[in-house]
Amino acid sequence: MPDATGLELIANEVREKEGAQAVVETVFFREHATLEVAPEKVGPVLELLRERGYSFMASLHGCDYYPQEPRLGVLYELLDMSAVDRITVKARVSTEDPHIPSVTERWPTADHQERETYDMFGVVFDGHPDLRRILMPEDYEGHPQRRDFPVGGEPVIFTFNEGPPTRGPR
């Protein structure tokens, strides 16, 4: 893992290359480094990390930080296979303007995973070749994994709310 100082060095490098607004926050929690960046700088930051050795994207997923704003976060888990090092890059967007540039072109593994994040959270990835719903039916409305989307389901039948027995096989 890049330790806390290593993380700060990476953050400084990003600030130098992409501007001081690129890095929003650095978090070092339980021996793991997270770098939060501005959404529009995600592509360049990932390329910078790729040059530093983090060439494998293990996971791309979303998270809803309701009620904190900006609500929707997209997390990129990167892995450096030769040094066995992991780092997380986080970008947060709001629900009013949930656009973030897609990284599918340079990281082909992001294809299905960005579609899933779009499906579940509503984050629109600009530049994605085929942004459609992947897990829910194509004409589904709503983004299920947002925190304000109800869990749904059927009411559990107890004695107080059971109706007349439905017709079963004779």
Binding site: M136, P137, P150, V151, E154, R167, G168, P169
Partner: protein
């Protein structure tokens, strides 16, 4: 010891009666002292009962149907692995005659819904069930399709909502023995009550969809010239 309720038996007489019984069933000439005395009435009935297995045609057909379910290969999720286990050697479904899993629903008569039915899959399950020929039965295997199971949420549909289910097998996943128990219960159900058609079983007459009038729009699966996209 009473062997013959009709009284003490003269062996020679018995032999003649036996020969006559063969002739009786074949429609041939009767022999010996009994000719032309045929067995009649209660004697004939008792005679036939002792020697011939009788049944109604319904019951025979129901017996045959119940002992030769052709399940459709319809594994959805975890329960599918336990359904594969009943085909495997320990709980051997071939003992009962149900090992012929047919891939095509047209050839299957038992749909074992094994696994969670999501909202994307539910119309497809219904379509497969509709494609099966009468008489057909359905077993809902596992908690997820019988009720909502472990996951009571937006993504699942309990199978009772869109198709008639005959046997629900609880479990998550049900042991292969439990599924076997469910299938055998269905077998007993079919044996005892030889009903044709799920619409009679569930009182669903009148739910047939009849398209009114001549059909003007092209069917969904008609091939259009030059069109190769989509499915």
């Amino acid at each position: 010891m009473k062997r013959d309720p009709l009284g003490p038996v003269d062996p020679a007489n018995l032999r003649v009666r036996e020969l006559n019984s063969h002739q009786l069933l074949r429609g041939g000439e009767l022999l010996g002292a009994n000719a032309p005395a045929h067995l009649g009435g209660a004697d004939l009935e008792r005679h036939v009962e002792e020697r011939v297995l009788t049944t109604t045609l319904d019951k025979a057909v129901a017996w045959a149907r119940s002992n030769s379910f052709f399940p459709a290969t319809f594994g959805l999720a975890c329960c599918a692995i336990e359904m594969m286990s009943i085909v495997a050697a320990r709980v051997d479904v071939a003992r009962f005659g149900f090992e012929a899993f047919r891939a095509s629903p047209r050839q299957a008569d038992l749909l074992i819904l094994s696994g969670r039915v999501s909202i994307k899959m539910a119309p497809i399950v219904r379509r497969i069930y509709d494609q099966m020929l009468e008489p057909k039965w359905a077993i809902s295997m596992g908690a997820c399709c019988s009720s909502m199971g472990v996951f009571n949420n937006y993504a699942l549909v309990p199978s009772d909502k869109f198709m008639p289910i005959d046997v629900h097998v609880p479990g998550c996943p049900p042991r292969p023995e439990a599924l076997m128990h469910g299938v055998l219960k269905l077998r007993k159900m079919v044996q005892d009550d030889p009903d044709m058609g799920w619409r009679e079983r569930y009182g669903a007459q009148g739910t047939e969809e009849v398209l009114a009038g001549p059909q003007t729009a092209a069917a969904v699966n008609l091939a259009v010239e030059g069109d190769t996209a989509g499915a």
